[in-house]
Amino acid sequence: MTFRSRLLIAFAIATIVPLALLGFGVRRQLTARLVAQHQRRVEDMAKVAAQDVERESASIAARLSTLARTLRTDDRFRMAAVRGDPGERAYLLDWAELAMRTTGLEMLQLQDSGGRILSSGHFRNEFDRLEPELPRALGAAKGAVLVNVRAPEGSFLALARAESVYVAGRRFDLVGGIKVDSVFLQRFAREEGLHVILSEAKDPKVPGRGLSIGTTRIPRLPARDDNSRPARDDNSRPARDDTSARDDNGADNVVAELPIPYLTDSQTTAHLIIAYDIPELALLRRDVDQWFAAALVVVVAGALAVAAWLSRRLSEPLATLTHAASTIDLEGPELALAAGRDDEIGTLARRLGSMSTRLRASAARLRHAERRATVGDMARQVNHDIKNGLIPIRNVLRHLVQVQEQEPQNLSTVFAERRATLESSVGYLDTLARNYAKLTPRVDRRAVDVNGIAAEVAASIAVGNNVRVRTRLPDNVPRALGDPVVVRRIIDNLVRNAVESFDAEGGEVTLATARTPTGGVRITVVDTGRGMSSEELAHAFDDFFTTKPDGTGLGLSVVRRLTTDLDGSVRVESAPGQGTAVTIELPSCTPS
C-alpha cells in the first residue's frame, strides 16, 4: 500500500468515526427522550384498558345474572331440562342461541351439574358434550377469563364468566362471554398509532404458541403508512417477524402490558400488549439521518481533498528525490536535489547530496588508482613481451659470438642458419611495437599455420642440457582462424612457462597439436615440472600470480586473455610433482 493510500485511509477514519459517534449519540438521546415521554402515555392507556376489561367483565356477569333469573321462571325450560319432556327438547336446544342473541353475548352454554352441555348458543349442535372444567374454572376466577371456545368453523377466543342457577333443586351453569378478536381489541386503540395485541408471550417479539391476535401489526422501522399495514384477522397467528415490536434500538414504539387470566391446559395468563408507534420519532430519526448523511458526505469529501493535497505535498518531493537518487551517476554531472526545503525532506535531500558528493570523490580517486595500476600492468606486460622477443636474438648473438671465437670459418654458415630466427624475432618485436602503439591491438582473423609457429617456437627456445623440448605436430591439423602473432605469443608463453618450471634436474616439455572432434585446433603443452597445488591452480590465471622467484606472473594470464581474443578456450591440469598440462583450443579456419 502506498504512502498516499495510507494517508487517505487514515484521514477518512479520523473524520468518519467521530462524526458517526456524534450522530449515533444525538440519535440515541433524542430517541430516549421521546420514548420516555410516550411510555408514560401508553401506561396510562393500559390502565384505561384494564378498566375497560373490568367493565366488560361486569357487563357479562350482569347479563348472565339476568338469564339465570329468567331461567328460574321459564316453564318450558323446566319441562325440558327437569322433566325431560321430549316435546320441549327443541326449545331447550334453541334456548341458548335465542338467549345469546337477546343479551348480546357471543358465547353461551347451559350445562347441567355434571358438565353436560344442554344448550349452546354459539354451537347449537354441541349439546350432550361434557365440559365440566369450564364453569368450575371460571367460577373460581375473580373476574372474566380468556377461554378458547370451540365452534363448528373453528375455535375462537372469548372473555367469559360463569353463573350458576338452581332450578327445582338442580344446579345449572351458565357460561357466557364475548368474542375477543381484532374488533374487540380495536376499542383499546383509541388513538392513531396505537396498536393492541393479545398474546401468550409477554414480549411481543416472541409470538405465543397458540394465541396472538391484534388490531394491526406492530410496525417496524422505518415507520410506514398505516394504510399499508394489513389488519389482522381473528385468531390469525402472525408470522414470527410480524410481532417484532421494536427495531434494533428498541425505540420505534413504546409498549405497555396488561395481564389477563387465560384458561388453557398450560397457560394461565395472556398479555394485552398496547404499543404506540411514534411517528415523530421516525421523522426525527429520518431528519437526523439525512443531516448526518449530508454532514458525512461534506466532511468526508473535505477530508479526502485535504488528505489528497497533503499526501501530494508529501509524496511528490519524495518521488522526485527517489527519481533523482535512482539517476545518480558518479561519473556524470552533479544533480541538484531538493535541498531548498527546510523540512525533513530537505534534510534528507541535503544528506543524499553530500553522500553523492563523497561517493563522487571516492570514485574519482578509485579511477585514478585504477589508471595508475593499469599503466604499471601494461609496463610490466610490455617488458615481459619485449623480453620474450629479445631472448631469441640474444641467444642467436651468443651463438654467433661462440662460433666466431671457436669456429670462425663456419660463421657465415651458422649466421645463415640463424638469420631466420633473428628476422622472426625482430618481426615479432616490430609487430608488438605496432600493437602497443595502437594500445588496443586489433586481432587479425586469418588462416594460421599452428604447426609452423609451434615448430618455430620450439626451435627458438634456448634450453639447458638437462631440458628437452619435444614436438608432436601431425599433418592433419587444420589451420586455425586467428592472428599469427597472437598464436605465437600464446605458444611462446606456454613453452617458456613450462621450461622455467623445471628445477636443476631439468625435465621434458612436449608441444603437441591435434585436430579436435569438432574440427578445431588443439595445442597442448605438457611438462614434467613440479606441478601446482589446487590452491595455486585456482590462481593460475590471475595477473601477477607466480610461483617462480623471478617470474612476472603474467604468462598464463596473458595466454588466457589472448586465447579469449581468438574465441578459444584454455584449460590447465596440474598436480604437485606430476607436472602441468595446458590445453588450448582454437577455432579452425574452415568450418566443421
Binding site: 327438547r89 349442535n125 358434550r129 363448528p152 368453523e153 373453528g154
Partner: protein, 305 residues
Amino acid sequence: MVTASSAPVDSASVVVTSPVNVQNAPRPTTWGERFVFALADTAAKRDCRDRPLSNVAGPYGIRDVGRSTLQLEPVAGARGPRLTIHLATETSARDLVDAGVDLLVTDSPALAAYAATRGDVTSAPLGWDRTWVVATPRGSLAIDSSVAFRSGLARDAVRADARASEGTHWWSDTTGCSTATVRSALASIGTSRVVYPHDESVARALAERLVAVLGGRATATGLAPNAFRSALLSGSEMAYVFPLRRMTVDRCRSMTELVERASWLGGRGAITALIDTRLHAVVRRDRLNLTFTWDSTVAIAPARP
C-alpha cells in the same frame, strides 16, 4: 294424489323457502331448484310408466328472474296459471303467508304448522324424498351408526321434518351396475373439515353435529355449490355431508351420476346414510290443485273450468 281443488285461476303465488339459482338448471343443487326445475321439465309431467299426466299443468317457461322472485308461464300449448315464485327465508315466508299465498313449499315443519293455522289451507307432508348422507373418501369416520344416533340427529340436530334413514338405499346395491368399478386416484386429504353445501341448513346442522361428536380439530365448513362440487370431485376433504334422492327408477344410472360427482366412491370411499327428510306443502284449497308424483315431485294441476 290431489290434495286440494279450487276454482280456476289465471295466476298464483308460490313461496319456496329454499334458494333457487336458475343457472344451475337442469341439475338442481337445492330442493327449491328441484321444485322449480320440475315445473319446467316436460319429462316430469309423465308418470312412472312414462304416461302423460293429463291433469298436470305446464310445462312452464321461466320468463323473469328477479332478486327474490321468479315468473313462470306455461309454454305455448300448455295449461296452467302463471306462477310467481317467492324465494323466501323462513322469517320472510311468514310475512308472505300472512299476506296470503296460494302455495307454500317448505322444509320447516314449524313454518308449515304456522301456515296451516290459516283456515283456508290444507297442509300435507310430502314423501320422504331425500336422504342425507356423509361420504368419506378414506372409509367411514368414527361415527356412531346406530339407529339411536341417527334418530338423535333427526330429532335434535336438524330443524327439518326428519327421521333416521331407513331401508336399503339404491347406492348400497351395485349389482349389475358397471359404474361400481370406476376408480380414480384420490387427492391427499389435507384438511380436517366436514364440508357441506352452504345453502342447505339440514346439511349444516348435520355437519355441525358430526364435528361436535368427532371433537378434535374437526371443523364444519359450508361451501358454495361450485366449490362443493369441486371438493366432492377431488375427495380431498375429511367428509362430505349432502343429500341424495331417496328413491330412483334407474338405480344404475343414478349410481353412474353419483360416481361421476365423486369418483372416489367407486373405490375406498364410503357413504353412510344419516337421516331422511321431507318437505311440507301448504295450499289454499280454493286456488290450486296439486299432484304429487311417485318421487314426491310437486306438480300443479290446472284449475278446473
